[in-house]
Symmetry: C2
Subunit: 285 residues, 2 copies
């Protein structure tokens, strides 16, 4: 072991991802949370929020590509997209690759996250120069309630884990507003949790969303540096036909350009629940 600074990203009672820090670039508390940015020798530049790993430069595509290209490939059209959270601009930079997106709104609660990411992740924040994009600082759940009915084609909820600060984003009230704001062939995607340490949250979240969206399904993608390397997303739509992985074709992915982590087969694999999860969640699907 070497002297110096380390960061732990703990899960459960006995596990953590452990990073040796090369240099801390930012470490301060905003009105909402602690924001930390540091460089490492071979894990890239890392953003932590409230001492939980959020994102790092080498793994961003593994998380942001599914969060953007999957819902946009399933939505009936992709003119108007809303991102709630996503203050690192990571999802937004992939959404603006879609030429048929006419309007992208990013609604981030914490303006200080936006400023920190503009400074330390400038390649990601560069997308805000795109004239189709509008960045708002404020409560995403409140903003969603004000969206005109049937106005959104895709709603991407890129929050911190939905059991702390972001727990408002998995409530009856929130899903009600989401259903109202989405057009009939609109799609919602939301970060939930892994299925090892946080498996207990899945039945809860599925029970709530099922009361609002007739179609919903968990997806598990490989996301290095997230706990145990697999992260669960929740997809929801107004009809079941909407959520078929077959819509994510090679032609669609090629049309986006520069996709690094997805193939149609990888997406179909993420849609397919392994038997042990399917058994445990069978009453909630």
């Amino acid at each position: 072991m070497n002297n110096g600074l380390y960061a732990l990203d703990r899960s459960g009672q006995s596990f953590a991802n452990y990073f040796q820090i090369e240099q801390v670039l930012y470490d301060s508390r905003s009105k909402y949370q602690k924001i930390t940015v540091f460089d490492t020798a071979d894990c890239g530049r890392i953003l932590m929020l409230d001492d939980f790993f959020n994102v790092s430069t080498p793994m961003e595509a593994f998380y942001h590509e599914p969060m953007s290209h999957v819902p946009l490939g399933l939505a009936g059209r992709r003119r108007n997209v809303l991102i709630i959270g996503g203050g690192d601009f990571g999802v937004a930079r992939h959404v603006v690759k879609h030429k048929d997106v006419e309007q992208l709104t990013l609604c981030e609660m914490d303006g200080q996250v936006l400023d920190v990411c503009r400074e330390f992740f400038p390649d990601w924040a560069a997308c805000e120069k795109d004239p189709r994009m509008q960045v708002r600082v404020g409560d995403g759940a409140a903003y969603l309630k004000d969206c005109p009915p049937h106005s959104l084609d895709a709603l991407i909820i890129d929050s911190t884990d939905p059991f702390f600060n972001a727990s408002v984003l998995v409530t009856e009230d929130f899903y009600n507003a989401a259903y109202r704001a989405l057009q009939p062939e609109g799609v919602l995607i939301q970060i939930v949790a892994d299925y090892y340490f946080y498996k207990k949250i899945w039945p809860d979240v599925l029970s709530v969303i099922k009361g609002h969206f007739p179609a919903c399904r968990p997806l598990f993608f490989y996301v290095p540096f997230y706990v145990l390397g697999s992260w669960g997303l929740l997809l929801a739509g107004k009809n079941r036909e909407q959520l078929r992985s077959e819509k994510i074709t090679r032609e669609y992915l090629d049309s986006i350009g520069g996709v690094e982590t997805l193939t149609p087969e990888i997406v179909a694999g993420a849609f397919s629940l392994p038997p042990y999860i399917r058994n445990e969640l069978k009453d909630f699907l």
Copy 2:
């Protein structure tokens, strides 16, 4: 943080998986390596070899099911199977689920690993009572050379990472012996490495095996607790038709019984290289 014992499983220069230990059950040096077994609060019972994480109880199926059911599903028949390494009995316990396996030989170099696993992972070691199974202590590469030509249907190399002790298992000599021992529709599978910290080993291993096996391909499966949660296996056969993921059908997986982590779509996803890996390895595939 709590007082007490911790284990680090380091990768690269700045990353480690970090486990808080509940109780150390075994920690001793054999003729070949250091062997450690400990219990944790919520990561199960863990085996480390030479201070590297090897396997734990809750994740064993994620690794052992692909290592057994994928090659056995692709081989022309599955009468005679050889495991080199695999002294924790983890792969063997899944191989004996196949009723058409007539003979399974496990050749483990380190007899002390076998004894430790018999004591501390008795559910896994129970498979050695199966009359079709033979356990040998010795050099797997030497044993392979003595196998009659065309005698093996599947060869499963479940070693430690092939850049330390097990580096002999990725040599010209070894692949030459493997090709000779496998029947014309036989299949080899081998643990290699993840594709983040150990990406440099992939071109080397692929270059060597390509000179012996006309068909070979890397597969990446989700394996929690392995570094970053994705582990790369290398599959090889004597003809390209042999290695199609379509052969791993739902009927095949159902026929095994009790498969927890695999579906045909998950296997097809593991066979599909993400664009960034495909680009980097294109000269070696």
